[in-house]
């Protein structure tokens, strides 16, 4: 639409009229958008999604939601990392997955969330009111299809965990976990090596069904064998990826 003489100069409406191609909103600068379900949207669909979305920032170790909270929102991680866990009847905690930028959170729910979600470090998320999102999805089959096709939500994360728990030895589990994180990073447009580990060794053990000591021993063993290099607490370089893949598959 050509600019009109009487259009207000600084309103969003005016900016859209004068500079429709240059109006910046969170999606335009979102680094994970090409790797997320949102990539399937055309500009009009994207605008409709932005209209119902809020960007939220969560501090490290803060809850995003708790198990049994009313499931009012769906989230898309854009920065940071999240752990999801269930509280067992004996009071213990079972981590069932880790989610990273590009992953959706809160999709698998009924009236209440079936698990708790906590930020591992400073984390940014897009937050969508669930009912409004479900209403929009009816009009956006491309987004719905892409959400289903993605390997990036809590159901997928929980299925990954089942594969890891099926591995026999602690070493196989730890190696499979590192390779899984590496593959996931590549899938989301991040470097797959070195592997970023935003979770503690304790969280890792909880997720893999191993004690903290066993996880630490497995890391030491892999390092001694020259298969990995521990750059710091949060980063591991995969020195011999092929050998690691063989270990992961039980050879």
């Amino acid at each position: 639409m050509p600019p009109t003489k009487h259009a207000p100069r600084f309103s969003v409406e005016a900016q859209q009229q004068h500079h429709s191609l240059h109006l910046v909103h969170p999606c335009d600068t979102c680094a994970v958008r090409p790797y997320s379900a949102c990539a399937a949207l055309n500009p009009d669909e994207q605008k409709r999604l932005v209209d119902i979305m809020k960007t939220v920032e969560i501090d490290a170790h803060q809850a995003i939601f708790n198990e049994f909270d009313k499931a009012q929102h769906v989230f898309n991680v854009t920065e940071g990392a999240v752990k999801i866990y269930k509280l067992l009847s004996d009071g213990r905690r079972q981590i069932t997955g880790f989610l990273f930028p590009g992953d959706f959170l809160g999709l698998t729910h009924n009236e209440t969330y079936a698990y708790s979600a906590e930020a591992l470090g400073p984390t940014k998320l897009c937050r969508f009111p669930r009912e409004k999102l479900e209403g929009l999805l009816d009009d956006m089959p491309s987004l719905e299809q892409r959400l289903l096709g993605m390997a990036s939500h809590e159901l997928a994360a929980a299925q990954d965990q089942m594969i890891l728990l099926g591995r026999k030895s602690a070493k196989e589990r730890v190696v499979s976990f590192l390779l899984m994180l590496s593959n996931s990073a590549v899938r989301h447009g991040r470097p797959g090596n070195p592997v970023s580990l935003p979770m503690t060794r304790n969280d890792m053990g909880d997720y893999l069904g191993l004690s903290l000591e066993t996880v630490s021993r497995a890391f030491t063993q892999l390092k001694t064998q020259g298969l990995i290099q521990l750059l710091d607490e949060r980063q591991v370089r995969l020195i011999k990826p092929d050998a690691l893949r063989e270990i992961a598959t039980g050879f």
Binding site: A114, L137, E144, Q145, R146, L147, L148, G149, A151, A156
Partner: protein, 164 residues
């Protein structure tokens, strides 16, 4: 991104992978219970009377839906495909997963000379989810050309057993 959904038979190596989906709809079911239920369904009674657990997977291999099937001999209708324990999560896109279930069931029926499919609704779900999901499931069945015929009577004996 490949967004196709594909039917694949569950086997002993993928029983565990299906568990999060089952737990999602029925939180009280343990992995042991699920495994004990699933294992016998993997083996056909004979090549002529197949049965199994069919999953609906996305291109990345994640299991998004599943159902139990069995070809049975019916006195009147001869070969009938029976499907039950249909598990479809309450997530956006579940209509597409349902379409995958319908297609897979019709394919199995055609392969096995069945002219009728009998679908049983999810009796094993926890009560709240059962009521809500059955409303959606019955609507989806009707849309897929299923009609509701006959009736099934159920008597729950837990209380009586507990008393003895």
């Amino acid at each position: 991104m490949d967004e196709r959904l594909t039917p694949r038979l569950l086997d002993k190596t993928t029983i565990d992978r299906a568990f999060p989906l089952v737990r999602n709809l029925a939180p009280d079911i343990t992995l042991e219970r699920w495994t004990r239920f699933a294992k016998p369904h993997l083996a056909s009674r004979s090549p002529d009377w197949p049965r199994g657990l069919m999953t609906i997977q996305n291109a990345a291999g994640y299991i998004l839906g599943l159902f139990v099937f069995e070809v049975r001999d019916d006195l009147y209708e001869k070969r009938v495909l029976c499907i039950d324990n249909i598990i479809i999560p309450n997530i956006p896109g579940r209509d597409a997963i349902w379409a995958g279930v319908v297609d897979a069931a019709e394919h199995i029926a055609a392969m096995n000379g069945c002219r009728t499919i009998r679908a049983g609704l999810a009796d094993d779900l926890e009560p709240g989810a059962r009521d809500r999901d059955q409303t959606w499931l019955t609507g989806s069945l009707e849309k897929a050309g299923y009609s509701f015929e006959g009736m099934r009577a159920i008597k729950r004996l837990e209380a009586r057993h507990a008393a003895h």
